[in-house]
Symmetry: C2
Subunit: 344 residues, 2 copies
């Protein structure tokens, strides 16, 4: 198996991506292609005391880098020699099995869609990060790829999320909920009411196990395994969780620093505190798969360090092994509205 | 000053509302009218060992109660003898200065709009709860009253939220942000792009201090004092914060219960932990004001106990004293689009 890594995207590129890539090749026992400015990468390797490329590691030259300010829609043209676009081309051409990048989310979504292409019949690719909850894990889909959605997009997010949860969380029949502003059937705006009907029908056809509307609070407490969201409110939820966790983390820190008694308390609780803050540290999670693209594309967190890169590569390996992309391809007819695709 | 309390709404009605109402009259030095089934209230009083009504406390009979399953839109007609509707009528008729209820949110919003009426020119009333953040407090408006919004609604939420933050948080020039899926100017769907323009213009006219698009995470870390949201994503944010706080609370509890060392740690940290969990316990906050209604209407949390009732009454008193409703009335022209109100 060969994993392609964008060595130039993210706040800590290229050093942490070089380090992470080299470690991933060793630890995950896969071949790795690092795409970026080769001269710079070789220089960094030398600084790290590595004279020759380890077995299974290749470098591929890309003179350009996608910038956070680039317009996502035109990156595939205007930055065609960037590490992101060349890496995606390599994936599309069969030069690797999956692609990992910590570059601009919008650019990655757009370039992956245009270069690697969506699965035929899938209307939009979506981000489906796995979040910890009180009772287990939750796939939140879409977490921000699509600010504007149609009811059919949400149906497809629910089905893709369900397949993904089967593979990634090992669940036989994931409980799929619709993120809404109340649990009652009639809740939400027009989009969510229409999506509710489509998801309920998919549930009745046995395509997914639909558990109805779910409020964000109840999802965090374990009410479902997959939470379907339009990309706007999915993003609001993801960022609210992140912000609350950071805020509470600062409160916990303040609590421990109060006086000698609390500092002693900290010493007794050190391991537990690390576990607690680590659980909600999205940097350590690794990455988020872009579901609906023909081949596995993993978005790593923008502030990824070498650990996070290894985590993202692990996730890429798992995605390849699981056959999730083929799964979505095989079942696309079940999640497509007949009216909008009359030739299906 | 006279505060009207719906004694029958909420999970712990009527006992906690009776207790809270009696305490509030004493502690806040205001007159209180408890609206509900008088026979039941008198019986409960007797059980509490109170034989006569304390000075400044009145009971007003209402034979009916609004149910959580009632259709909010028709409550004012179908439940016209309910404690909620009769309490609102009393407020509208000048029989009190503010109204507090822990009953159904949707019903309260609808009945307050129809019975007490919106300020002339205000398109929709909105919920604006005050949430703790890393650096202070945040007014989130709208937190769930309006699932579907127009750009003008969001403009008005921003202006009303700003007036409210001046009064409630004592800020001279509150920083108003727009909840969006990114901080860049161009972010969001059509609604948020249009709302951005309106809010920016209001900022340029000096009506508010607009600080641009704000992500949920940054708002939790203190990026603004007022966060403008459509009611759908505002609700998602509110519930995500609540769910994350509850989830983290359970993790903290688990951490303390691990072994004798961690239990000892808990003893050393007890006060700090209570402070921490209390800070994110929405039951203790009291209530949320319904902004845009002619007179102060406060929604108390559905699971309010007597403490929360006292908190909500305090908030009602502060709302009356601040003159926030008059403030909104005086400035409504600045937050109304001329095209939609040609006679203005």
């Amino acid at each position: 198996m060969k994993i392609i890594i964008d060595a130039m995207g993210g706040d800590n590129a290229p050093l942490e991506f070089l380090k992470g890539g080299l470690r991933a090749a060793r630890e995950c026992q896969v071949d790795v292609v690092l795409v970026g400015r080769v001269a710079e990468l070789l220089e960094l390797m030398k600084q790290q005391g590595i004279e020759t490329l380890p077995k299974g590691v290749e470098l591929m030259d890309a003179e350009d880098v996608v910038d956070m300010h680039d317009d996502p829609a035109t990156v595939h043209k205007k930055r065609k020699n960037s590490s992101m676009v060349l890496g995606l081309k390599l994936l599309a051409d069969g030069g690797g099995d999956a692609f990992v990048s910590a570059g601009s989310t919008g650019a990655l979504l757009s370039a992956a869609t245009l270069v690697v292409k969506r699965v035929r019949g899938i209307r939009r690719a979506a981000f489906g990060p796995t979040l910890p909850t009180k009772t287990g894990n939750l796939v939140l889909i879409d977490a921000g790829a699509n600010a504007e959605c149609s009811p059919e997009f949400l149906l497809q997010f629910g089905c893709m999320g369900s397949f993904y949860a089967k593979k990634a969380l090992g669940l036989e029949s994931p409980r799929v909920g619709l993120l809404n502003n109340g649990a009652e059937d009639s809740k939400g705006d027009e989009l969510h009411k229409a999506a509710y009907t489509l998801l309920r029908d998919a549930g009745e056809r046995g395509v997914i196990q639909f558990v109805g509307n779910v409020e964000a609070r109840d999802a965090m407490l374990g009410a479902c395994d997959v939470l379907v969201a339009d990309g706007f409110s999915g993003n609001v939820m993801l960022k609210s969780i992140e912000g609350t966790a950071m805020f509470m983390g600062s409160l916990i820190k303040r609590m421990f620093l109060k006086n000698w008694k609390t500092k002693l308390g900290y010493l007794l609780l050190k391991d537990g505190v690390k576990e607690l803050t680590g659980m909600l540290d999205y940097n350590k999670v690794g990455g988020t798969m872009l579901l609906g693209i023909c081949k596995p594309v993993i978005k790593a967190h923008g502030s990824s360090n070498a650990d996070a890169v290894v985590g993202a590569v692990r996730q890429a390996v798992a995605a390849v092994e699981s056959g999730i992309c083929q799964d979505i391809r095989d079942h696309v007819a079940e999640m497509t509205l007949p009216k909008e695709e009359p030739h299906a």
